[in-house]
Amino acid sequence: MKPLPPTLTVTAPPHAHCGKTVKGRMRAILIAMMPAALLAVHHFGMDALRVMCLGAAAAVVAEFLCDQIMERRSQVDDLHAFTVGLTFSFLLPASAPWWMVVFGSAVSIIMGKMIFGGLGGSPLCAPLVGWAVCSLSWPAHMDINASMLTSELNYPLSQLKHFGVEAIKGYDLDSLMVGRQLGGLGAVQTGALFIGGLFLAIRKHIKVGVSVGMLAGVLLTAGLFRMADPAQYASPMFHLLTGSVIFGAFFLATDPSSSPMRKIPAALFGLTAGVLVIIIRVYGVYPDGTPYAILLANLAAPLLDRIKPKPFGKKAAGRTLT
């Protein structure tokens, strides 16, 4: 008997691929978050580890349950839920109660991702949805100052808000960079996050325009305020290295589905978020404006996406009303 001819796989072109996958990208993001996570454990002890584990686990379980309810094949193995959970816990104080971590993480997944149809559908950055719900519902537990009682570290942004520039004289930038400050347990590890962010940018895993735009927005706006009155406003570098600016610029604002896709809109989006951070910090009631600034910029993303070049060989872009 003649052997059967081999059965071929028939697919549409292109038959080759660059090799980047969603799972690979999530893995890279997790690697980029690792140094900050380690530093968080170093500074805040087992409490931080507890919050991170709870957050990640709750997100994965929540997504799995949603998939069951929605009767579809679960894709938790793409690590996105895990990343969202960990990102959410990075924004919490290490003292956050367990039920709030679990609730907020689940809300991030349910309201920030699954309700829009899963990965890629959300117009908002998922972890920030959970953060916003928690900070509106339990301001006392989300309050960074509450965790101050058990730590020798301070929350620089709250001191700036309530006691003015004089109060933050004691901070030098080096210690801010290694995370010797209070705030979201992972988000304040600014130096480590910056290295992680650079890694993602070099590996082309994030929209670099967003990060550069946001950092530029923060520096420029804070610089303008500083120039206007150095006695009243903190320096741009202080703003850059406190709260979750670095974390936001590299890990939150770059969320693919909630940021614009083209280069110029992406840079404008980042710039908007950066400017809003400082405006909220200066005029708002929140010491750290980053999460809300990014959420607000998310709302502007579809508008910014309208800025587009002419298609090849055409006089003008087609009728694009939706």
Binding site: L8, M261, F312, A317
Partner: protein
Amino acid sequence: MKLFESIVREGPLKVLPAPQVVRVPMSCHRPEVQCGQDVARGVHIGGGRYAPISGTITEVHPYYICITAGKEVQPVPKDLSGLRGDALRQVLGELGAKLPQGPTDTLIINGVDPEPGVTAFTHMLTEFGSVLSLGLETARKIYNPAKCVLAVEQGRPNSLNGCDPVHIKEGYPNGLNPLVVAAVTGKEAPEDTVVLSVGTLFELGRIMETGLPCVDVVLTANERNFVVTVGTPADTVLSEAGLSVRDGDTLVLGGHMRGEAAHSPQQGVDKNTYGLFVIRKGEYPAVIDAPCIGCGECIQVCPARIDPSTISGYAEFRMYEKCADHDIDACMECGMCGFFCISRRPLLQYIRLAKQHLAFAAQCELEPQREG
């Protein structure tokens, strides 16, 4: 696979003898021959395809016509001397070379290899100078151009008599016809410009030499270039090139970015097949029916500057008219979007689907949204 590698191959091409059995690929065409009929080489067998060998038709399949070699029948060549302009173009069309209408101002010969890994075009330029010159002369007779340009990749010394060489930035997709035109003329989609690939010139040259339809094609397989008869089963070329296919592999006729996946190793090569590649099972992440995550990779690599993610989303939900609103017609089907999509969406497939529906709707004036 690298998109930007630049390979030079030299030395004579290997000419494969005409096989005993050919399968001439056909689709959507009414065959003009029947099973058991004897045909001479060069006879029209339907759909603009010609018998590449003399023999007997042994199978008429919706996708191919199989001919088994028989007694050599001397075909009757057409007399092409003395023809010019559109008359020549029409006669060539009857011999299988479909050419765009002329006359034109600028004639561009695209000598850039069509896809990464394919070296057949540049190799033809060095080895088949006389055939190509004849082809060029013919094209000149048809188009009567004021200016003739040969586009080659940067750093290549190739030339063709009477053509000004223009160097094209290396790397895919810079060698595609629309982009070459833009690079040569400085205008996107200008009028009064005709582009012919080196493959087409080769066909013209061969037709002029013999007065018969061209039955040869030059293709790259396993880093070597071959001259093969149209309809030669792919596995004949593969074994000659030292390649083999296993269960689950993809056999590509053409190139990685735009080629067609063969349904069987016996499938015959077409007259525009410039490469033959085997892609191992699992070599690249598999295409999946995944949603777009909005990463923007596809938009940033698209040479047409359109938005493949949005267009594919609309195509997915059969909203083809929306695809037209998003300038789907500017797409040059280069495949870059699908190559870079991190969700591994079949972007080009969606785009082709939408284009086909739009063309169909324009033809029949059907409501594209409802039909489908």
